[in-house]
Point group: C2
Chain length 381, copies 2
Amino acid sequence: MEGKKGVVNSELWHACAGPLVSLPNVGSRVVYFPQGHSEQIAASTNKEVDVPSYPSLPPQLICQLHNVTMHADVETDEVYAQMTLQPLTEEEQKDFYLPADLGLPSKQPMNYFCKTLTASDTSTHGGFSVPRRAAEKVFPPLDYTRQPPAQELIARDLHENEWKFRHIFRGQPKRHLLTTGWSVFVSAKRLVAGDSVLFIWNEKNELLLGVRRANRPQTVMPSSVISSDSMHIGLLAAAAHAAATNSPFTVFYNPRASPCEFVIHFTKYVKAVYHTRMSVGMRFRMLFETEESTVRRYMGTITGISDMDSTRWPKSNWRSVKVGWDESTAGERQPRVSLWEIEPLTTFPMYSSPFPVRLKRPWPSGLPLFQGLREDELCME
Amino acid sequence: MEGKKGVVNSELWHACAGPLVSLPNVGSRVVYFPQGHSEQIAASTNKEVDVPSYPSLPPQLICQLHNVTMHADVETDEVYAQMTLQPLTEEEQKDFYLPADLGLPSKQPMNYFCKTLTASDTSTHGGFSVPRRAAEKVFPPLDYTRQPPAQELIARDLHENEWKFRHIFRGQPKRHLLTTGWSVFVSAKRLVAGDSVLFIWNEKNELLLGVRRANRPQTVMPSSVISSDSMHIGLLAAAAHAAATNSPFTVFYNPRASPCEFVIHFTKYVKAVYHTRMSVGMRFRMLFETEESTVRRYMGTITGISDMDSTRWPKSNWRSVKVGWDESTAGERQPRVSLWEIEPLTTFPMYSSPFPVRLKRPWPSGLPLFQGLREDELCME
DNA sequence: ATGTAGGCGCTACGCCGACAA
DNA sequence: TTGTCGGCGTAGCGCCTACAT
């Protein structure tokens, strides 16, 4: 598993990244959105910038994914992925076989739990209160003949550090607790109330331990290295150079920094853009992650379809759908989404049709997405 | 002083930056070296990258400095400067008046001291041992009639946080110590033995407090935002775009990240490049910072003059001088320096001559540095 | 089922001189 | 002059149960 230094346990990475995050397979085709990438940089640096537009850079690049590695920040344990993408020539776009990589949301580990830390969990006054079902599911069973039942747990984090905890079942009423060892973990990881920890009991009978920090309002980036303008220009220039020369380039994808997956499975993209009817007024649903790290669907209505940034990124499909949400719990959900993020609520079958339905409106005719690639050459399952 | 948020105390910033660091004045002319900037990025990210060359970007840009602000990283207290530079058109390069901004090393504060922390200073076992002369110079005088003499000190750091310390003069033999309050400071700033602290007693009778971390071997950058390749391309593209349109761009200068000052006072540059004889075999001296935060001169001999990177940056003056050092204390000093960093040891007067001596070799004739700017138009004091 | 608080033992933090370098 | 140590008193860490939600 640890072939390269800095590459982390895949199971644990996905658990920390959350149930909605999926990474494309190595070798598969993907669509890269500079605009989405730019959005992530803006979210990371907390700066909106006004960079010059890059007319030579199309709003999306069809790429082959040469490499994906999973990493975690040494300081914060924040998970991120490094991807090496190579833009495909028109020839290569034509001449392909498509692995059926739909990028279904990665399966979360079987035996795991995630708990948001309470004030008591993080205070120096005591230990960690383990939810009962969680303890029974992911911790090795206790010897209940002892009084009180207790054992030592050793859990490994993303950096292969081992943490020892005393797991004890006591109190009135009885409960599972982590005592000795817990506070050093909390202070080493600098956890505060509101952050989450997650434990995994994997198939090799190893205990893995991850951390998810609460969304601090300002994740103030150490922008002391390069200006955010230069970052934006850099990403655009790197992509443009790669596109012009069909040479590989590298991006970092930080799934928890901002809700913008800017590298999309090719087939998912094609399905959404070419094989799905979308129109104003249409109802849809979309998956979101809950506080408890599970998924739930929110429903909404399409209120408009238009370019998000018509000057810089004309005819881009990135966040081209304006939506209204049924549950108006503040403005916490994006007012704009991308076609492939939502699932239209229709009665007729969409994907099984042998005759793909070309999107009629509102896209301008002849949208120049896959030059040289005929639609009926697409291999859909 | 605190007009803008994030802008820090100038005195304290300079003390933390060290005696050799000077910032050009706002409004003055400077020379910007993309190559040097690239070097700093490489040092910050610990990655050498192989970026495509940018033939349209000259190895140096003459710019006007529109803005300089001093900052400090919230996490690490690392000082850095943000500069807004505007490349000058040929017309503007001709039509100028030059403020006599030679960028002499900034004067360090009068009453200050800097101490490298010992194991005892940072252990949980005790407080901070204040060097006697330092305490007498920068701390308010103690009332020696009390037994023991003691007082409470309040010092402000770069982020305007206040830290309280008990300052006491006791022991046998007598010594100055900081006791209560010291350990919380050490743990809050995460100081370890080898790091330095510095105190300033300024003219407003305020006590300022700064931190300098030891050069940890690997200052592993959180590169989880943007690839180092994109950073390099970004800096080059941003500079190229600015040069092409004569529009302002922003850079960050981190004086302690790496010994490469990539924004140089214009007059200093002109002096060094056009008005100084340099030849192989010539002796010179150069300033360095000592452990104790003072300057000292090292002597050396020029062993060669050539492009550092002849493919990417032909005819650049950045680190064009190969040197050998008299004291060969390991390879801790750069084997290549730039002309303006060194002071040639000659007997004839150099700067006062009314007829500037054009550098004969090894520069190729007609080096295209200041197109449209005749040398005798330069205004040297 | 689980968050918080009171009780209290004991570790280690932190203040002190004594040395020595 | 100043770094480190042995000495100690005590704050607060951390283990326990009680109680409330």
